[in-house]
Symmetry: C2
């Protein structure tokens, strides 16, 4: 083997994998946005076939040899060495899973998501329970295949946030729990409540406004699109094809708009990864979902709920919605910064959001180790909503059926949302130091400086640095809950102080 | 080998091929309906990969052995024997094409369609010419690989209408040319013109009306959908997933509506094929594009332009479009039956339609044998429009750039439209004999009897009978231009006599 041959063959194999995986991605996007109900069974076959194909290609012995060659020969500290490090990590994990299990899981994910959509519509927990039972069963088998030292959850979270474990996450949530509860209490005790933004907000106007906001902060519609789905998501299919979704309600502006801003945050990361230069390489892939989520949460919250953002967007919103014509800018700003416990995670405010995550994190670890039975999920869910948010869940649709994740096999994914909030606040603090008066820029509709900074510091590097290293590289210190707590304190103080 | 093992392995291999091909189908649908412009290059890679994979699987030596076993052992006259016959035909043809050529062609089809969309928008022939040049070059190579006795066109049309040749098609068109020209003349000489249906026809109302019409004639939206594309099409992705598209113009109702009726005709065939019972088998596949087109043209023209159809749908149309409130039913009927030469094939009336096909048929045979140069296409096109339709083409968008086919590699496809018209008229004559007063049924909104008859006589058989045999089986005699000419004479007589 010589370097050039290895490079060529490795590039070809990575590209092939990217072709197969991105095709599975198109199927997944289609499944959530357009697939007719009767097409689900066949879609499960297609998805299982492609996931199996990708698995076979990604565990091929020759692929392993090429990776090992790179691990041995790539110059220490080089991009090639980082690529080899990540390839090896993925290869070794993939080798631990039997192809048949990968295939079965892919099939189950399609069927189970479809069952979830129907069950959620009818708020019928019992229609979904058998699917969750089967999913948890398979996820336990996956964890057993991967292996773990302390808890099966550790084996799963590695797929989303490499290096994180149940033990490393617990103190992170512990550091947040009490301060967040106090902030919620402070908002409640203040007795202040923002005026509700009354609709109607016609769907086509919401779509136009969301599209304009997405464009303004930097989403490239020539290389992407915005559609509708039951649960908003972003999928980066190729260098020139990143798609986001949201969902609309005639009586509410925030749900769809902040959904768009959130997914655009993900999409800007996807559109900023060097996919055209390194198709299929870890160098063109996000390093972790926590880092991915830092991008979505930053644009949604730190930018999208800021006073400066609404200084620029209030007149535009008024042009789109006649019902906002006479609403004061400060009232709109307060309305989108209301801190008030609610049932739905994706509609929740910045403060209570992490409490939603905490309860999911607790429940899914228990589901995995068997200390929580499937049949007890609704009761356990409702009890935690009572405990953390002080609310009584009215039905499963607004309770344990609200999220797509478990139906899609995403067990161990939730903590990355809170990690994302933490990363986001710490990155943003640094961006403010580096870029100066961001608010003055936003007030003029200028979001390119922030995006350029994110491209330079984070996006372009793909998986070159681990999440832990990246945070240190960008901010000069390890992950720290202080910036997030400081930010949330300031926000709450601004509106409820 | 024993029968059960062969059956099992053959079924598995056919299903695998169906999975791969239907996945390519999803990519194709997405390409024409949703793909962002910058996603084209990667889509070409995905499509090339899947087409190559399907080609490799479909030419696998073991697959050939299984097919040969079935050819030898399936009882004569059985469904299994018919399946083996069609499998063998496809296998032997596929074996003649090098995988690299299949891959290159698939890549070119994506890139070239995208170039066509842009060129058509700008009416810029020169932007598309190099793509057509390359496509014809590759199509000649395909014809050379397949081999042919008399003309390269024969090798290509076999993909769309097995058994047809240039020599067999020429007399068919010859039999139509003069009688059709006379009918066009008769309409012109009568001096009669229908009142134009004045809009506006709001797009959302058109969509609602088209959806209702599609449902009413039998399209199952639980197993399908209706979207928008530059060029209307239908794609049958699986037993539960058949998708159609149309395109809307605010000032015109007919274009979108008859587009829907046409594509629903295709879709009813797709939804009626036994795909769930025989996934990937020729028994669940259409026998030829001529037969496929007979279904679309029947619902579009024989049903959709009939007086009885509009007896039922006129009040519904009036509910949807305020601009039709005071238009007489007979005027609507005349408007949708106007015979008048125009530039655009898909908007043309039933009589001139086949003249549009004739000129494309003549041009593409000449392109293939080299007697027409790419650079001469616009002039040759315009000359034929002058000759057959008496019109002067104003620009390439309304001339040689109007159709998607050549950009999509569909060379040899056009004649199947006219074959479809011929098959349709002959089938429909038989349906009238078998079912009695169809018009009375339509007037009551009952279209199920016709659909049931088509399911029973045509759809359920897939490729069991060749197109030639199917026509004889259903109508008791070989294909004959008389029913189409009789139908067109009656239509013209009714409005212009």
């Amino acid at each position: 083997m010589n370097h050039d041959d290895v490079r060529r063959e490795l590039d070809a194999r990575m590209k092939e994998l990217a072709v197969v995986r991105s095709t599975a991605g198109v199927l997944g996007w289609d499944e959530q946005t357009h697939l007719p109900p009767a097409g689900t069974a066949w879609r499960a076959e297609q998805s299982a076939y492609l996931q199996r194909l990708a698995h076979d290609k990604s565990t091929d012995a020759r692929f392993g040899e090429l990776i090992e060659y790179q691990v041995q020969h790539a110059p220490s500290g080089s991009a090639e060495a980082a690529e080899a490090r990540e390839l090896k990590r993925s290869f070794e994990r993939a080798k631990k899973l039997p192809g048949a299990l990968v295939e079965e899981l892919a099939r189950l994910e399609v069927l189970s998501q479809s069952a979830w959509v129907e069950a959620r519509k009818k708020s019928a927990w019992l229609d979904f329970a058998p699917w969750l039972e089967r999913m948890i069963e398979l996820k336990r088998r996956v964890a057993d295949c991967y292996g773990y030292e302390k808890h099966p959850y550790d084996a799963l979270i590695e797929d989303y946030e490499p290096g994180a474990t149940l033990a490393s996450l617990k103190p992170v949530f512990e550091a947040l729990r009490e301060p967040l509860a106090k902030l919620v209490q402070k908002a409640a005790d203040s007795g202040r409540r923002p005026p509700q933004l009354a609709g109607p907000f016609p769907i086509d106007r919401q779509e136009a406004f969301g599209t304009l906001a997405a464009k303004t902060i930097g989403f490239d519609f020539n290389a992407g699109r915005l559609d509708v789905s039951v649960h908003p998501f972003c999928t980066g299919l190729s260098a020139g094809d990143t798609r986001i979704t949201t969902r609309y309600r005639l009586d509410d502006l925030s749900d769809a708009l902040f959904g768009v801003l959130h997914e655009v945050g993900h999409a800007l990361y996807e559109q900023g990864l060097p996919k055209a230069a390194h198709p299929g390489s870890p160098l063109a892939d996000s390093i972790s979902l926590g880092i991915h989520e830092s991008q979505s949460r930053m644009w949604e919250n730190l930018v999208g709920r800021s006073a400066a953002f609404w200084q620029y967007f209030t007149p535009i919103a008024r042009e789109h919605f006649s019902s906002l014509k006479d609403v004061k800018e400060s009232d709109i700003l307060f309305a989108v910064n209301e801190v008030s416990p609610g049932f739905i995670r994706v509609e929740s405010d910045e403060v209570t959001y992490n409490l939603h995550i905490l309860m999911r994190f607790e429940l899914e670890t228990q589901l995995l180790d068997g200390s929580l039975k499937i049949s007890d999920v609704p009761a356990a869910w409702d009890a935690r909503v009572k405990k953390y948010l002080g609310l009584t869940v009215p039905d499963a649709a607004r309770g344990c059926l609200q999220d797509i994740h478990w139906s899609a096999g995403l067990v161990g994914y939730f903590p990355t949302y809170t990690l994302g909030n933490l990363y986001a606040a710490q990155f943003y603090e640094q961006a403010r130091k580096d870029l100066g008066d961001l608010d003055a820029m936003y007030a003029r509709g200028e979001f390119a400086p922030l995006l350029g900074w994110l491209r330079d510091r984070i996006h372009q590097h793909g998986s070159r640095y681990t999440a832990t290293d990246l945070v240190k590289r960008v901010t000069g210190r390890p992950l720290d809950p202080a910036p997030l707590l400081k930010h949330l304190n300031e926000r709450v103080e601004a509106f409820y102080g």
